[in-house]
């Protein structure tokens, strides 16, 4: 659109600004809370801007002194990294062959729909059977057990994303490679997977986020520092008699860092993955 009335341009820019504010305001408030002195946060009326910068909570949470709140926080951070990392890795490993098979053999696509259908079940419906199952295998309060549960959530999701990614790679390319004499593993390794890399990166990131943010199963299946994840640890901060909102905000900021870092690193792959029709539906 070359010709726009000035009013329309103003409207467009105002809308963009409004969207940005709506998205960024909570994050900004989280940051401000995390560096405000405690008095500012309990003042009435609320001090929207900190009187001075207080970084003590970051020190508290990142201190490695044994049995401190910091040690517990760092342990849960590591647990979250382990659980989300393992679940994501396993999900991608499972999803690549499954998605490729479904994409290239439409006759078996019903199986993916069946899996997606179970995905629609609310977690609470599965909580009891999963708990009993994990208890039977001795995997309660274990990062492996939790990662296994997360895999059941992530695998259908990544398979779905990867399938649409594979769909966008013409089958003729694989036919040509087949005539050229490539074996299936060579076709996948040299052609299909590199071409699907952006979509794989996108689905891995979203899977990681999904696992990173999960709270319900983590709350049910973990009980102490050996397996407790960040989301549960943050909830614990709010669970005492006195809730230090500043501390919760600080934990929130720190919890947001790993996904943001990964997102930044994978930015380029991510953008092409998002735009190549990889994230449909």
């Amino acid at each position: 659109m070359e010709r726009q009335s000035p009013l329309f341009s103003v409207f467009i820019h105002a809308s963009a600004l409004l969207l940005a504010v709506v998205i960024l305001a909570p994050v900004a408030w989280l940051l401000i809370m995390s560096i405000s002195p405690a008095a500012d946060l309990s003042a009435k009326p609320l001090a929207w801007w900190p009187s001075d910068i207080d970084l003590s909570r970051y020190r508290t949470l990142l201190s490695a002194v044994e049995n401190s709140a910091g040690a517990a926080f760092i342990a849960s951070l590591l647990n979250s990294l382990k659980v989300a990392g393992m679940a994501t890795l396993a999900a991608v490993i499972v999803a690549v062959p499954a998605a490729w098979a479904v994409s290239r053999t439409p006759a078996v696509a019903w199986s993916l729909y069946a899996v997606i259908a179970t995905y629609m079940l609310p977690p609470v419906a599965l909580a009891v059977p999963l708990y009993m199952g994990l208890a039977y295998f001795g995997l309660l309060n274990s990062v492996f057990g939790l990662a296994l549960v997360y895999l059941t959530i992530l695998a259908p999701f990544t398979t779905w994303l990867l399938k649409s990614g594979f769909d966008s790679i013409p089958r003729e390319i694989e036919s040509a490679a087949m005539i050229d004499g490539a074996r299936l593993d060579q076709i996948l390794r040299i052609l299909t997977l590199p071409l699907a890399a952006p979509v794989m990166a996108t689905s891995a990131l979203f899977a990681f986020l999904l696992a990173w943010d999960e709270f319900f199963y983590a709350l049910l299946f973990t009980s102490d520092l050996r397996a407790k994840t960040l989301t549960v640890a943050i909830a614990d901060l709010a669970g005492g008699r006195v809730s230090d909102y500043g501390l919760i905000a600080t934990a929130g900021v720190l919890a947001a860092l790993p996904p943001v870092l990964i997102g930044l690193i994978m930015q380029r792959a991510l953008i092409s993955g998002l735009t190549s029709g990889g994230v449909k539906g």
């Binding site: 087949m178 050229d180 074996r183 052609l191 590199p194």
Partner: protein, 360 residues
């Protein structure tokens, strides 16, 4: 020795039968064009030859060896796809050499073969680029190069020029012809473009509805079409098809007074009273000057100058007819003229079966 033999190939997808018994035998060095509109089964047949699809019945022999159930890579074929199907993440050089790489040809030998092929196709300067950095014509050359480098027994082309613009298509057509004359390999080429078929083929198989309507040289397909379908498909503008009846003195066109002489080639095929379809190519018609030869009185409706020729649409009795005349013919729409033609230019077809009534 026949390089490729297709024996009674059938292909069914559930209830639908897309190939209903195809028989073709190709000598080594032949350029066969499978010509037909979309859905006629020509691409399915090509995929069956390539081994990308298995036939429901029949046999395929490449170099006198049945290749049923043989993996595409072991059939000694190379294929150029309509979409080129280049490997987007590999360089042009690696695209061309991929087949050799997969067959574990040593790198130095592979490199030489890739360079030779690139030189042949004039894409030497592009070897380091990625397919996305190439124009359509260059991609096409790379796709052809990828097939050439392996020096297979049979080349398969699946509508390779249909993604190119008109000018480039003509250039590549000539290029393909040059390559074939130079390399003398056996080619099976699928297209819906009758000009490509006429110019490239040593033999054309006109397909329709899973069957071969006519398998013959381009000249024969043009001069002696076996069916009404072939007559209408090959040639541009298409052949005029007129309804007529045979009577004692010749052919009487519907809604028209004149009686045309019955061509000798159709003697005995049509007895008096028989309904026939009469075909005559637009380019066989001329404006009648003197009184000799058969005449068709026509009312000129539309005159279109294309440059090299004057295409005119006229009515003959109640039927419409197209004629291609020399560009400087003085002709106005609305005027009455008479066309004449050589009697050998007439084609007679059975209206029900569509078969040619030619007896010789």
């Amino acid at each position: 020795m026949s390089a490729l033999e297709i024996r009674n190939i059938h292909k069914r997808y559930g209830e639908v039968e897309t190939l209903k018994g195809i028989d073709i035998a190709l000598e080594s060095g032949e350029f066969l064009v499978l010509l037909g509109s979309s859905g006629c089964g020509k691409s399915t047949l090509l995929n069956i030859i390539a081994g990308l699809a298995e036939p429901s019945g029949g046999d395929i022999l490449i170099g006198e060896r049945s290749v049923l159930g043989v993996h595409p890579k072991d059939r000694d074929i190379a294929m150029v796809f309509q979409s080129y199907a280049l490997y987007p993440n590999l360089s042009v050089a690696r695209n061309i050499g991929f087949g050799l790489e997969m067959r574990r040809v040593p790198p130095t030998e592979r490199d030489k073969a890739v360079r030779d092929t690139a030189r042949l196709l004039q894409i030497e300067t592009l070897l380091d680029r990625k397919p996305s950095q190439l124009s359509g014509g260059q991609r096409q050359r790379v796709a052809i190069g990828r097939a050439l480098v392996r020096n297979p027994q049979v080349f398969l082309f699946d509508e390779p020029l249909s993604n190119l613009d008109a000018k480039l298509r003509m250039e590549m057509r000539t290029e393909l012809k040059r390559l074939h004359q130079m390399l003398k390999t056996t080619v099976v080429y699928v297209t819906h473009d009758q000009i490509e078929a006429m110019t490239l083929a040593t033999r054309i198989a006109v397909m329709r509805d899973g069957r071969i309507e006519q398998l013959a040289t381009p000249e024969e397909v043009y001069d002696r079409p076996a069916t009404l379908y072939v007559a209408g498909f090959v040639g541009s503008p298409p052949m005029n098809i007129l309804d007529a009846e045979v009577n004692a003195s010749g052919l009487k066109l519907d809604g028209c007074e004149e009686v045309l002489p019955l061509p000798a080639a159709f003697n005995g095929a049509a007895s008096a009273g028989r309904r026939v379809k009469v075909g005559i190519r637009p380019e066989a018609l001329r404006l009648a000057a003197g009184s000799g030869g058969p005449r068709l009185a026509a009312n000129i409706e539309v005159v279109e100058l294309t440059g090299p020729e004057l295409v005119t649409t006229a009515t003959v009795g109640s039927q419409r007819i197209t004629a291609c005349l020399p560009p400087r013919t003085a002709l106005r729409s609305g005027s009455a003229h008479a066309f004449t033609f050589d009697e050998t230019a007439l084609h007679l077809f059975d209206p029900e079966s569509g078969r040619s009534l030619r007896t010789e």
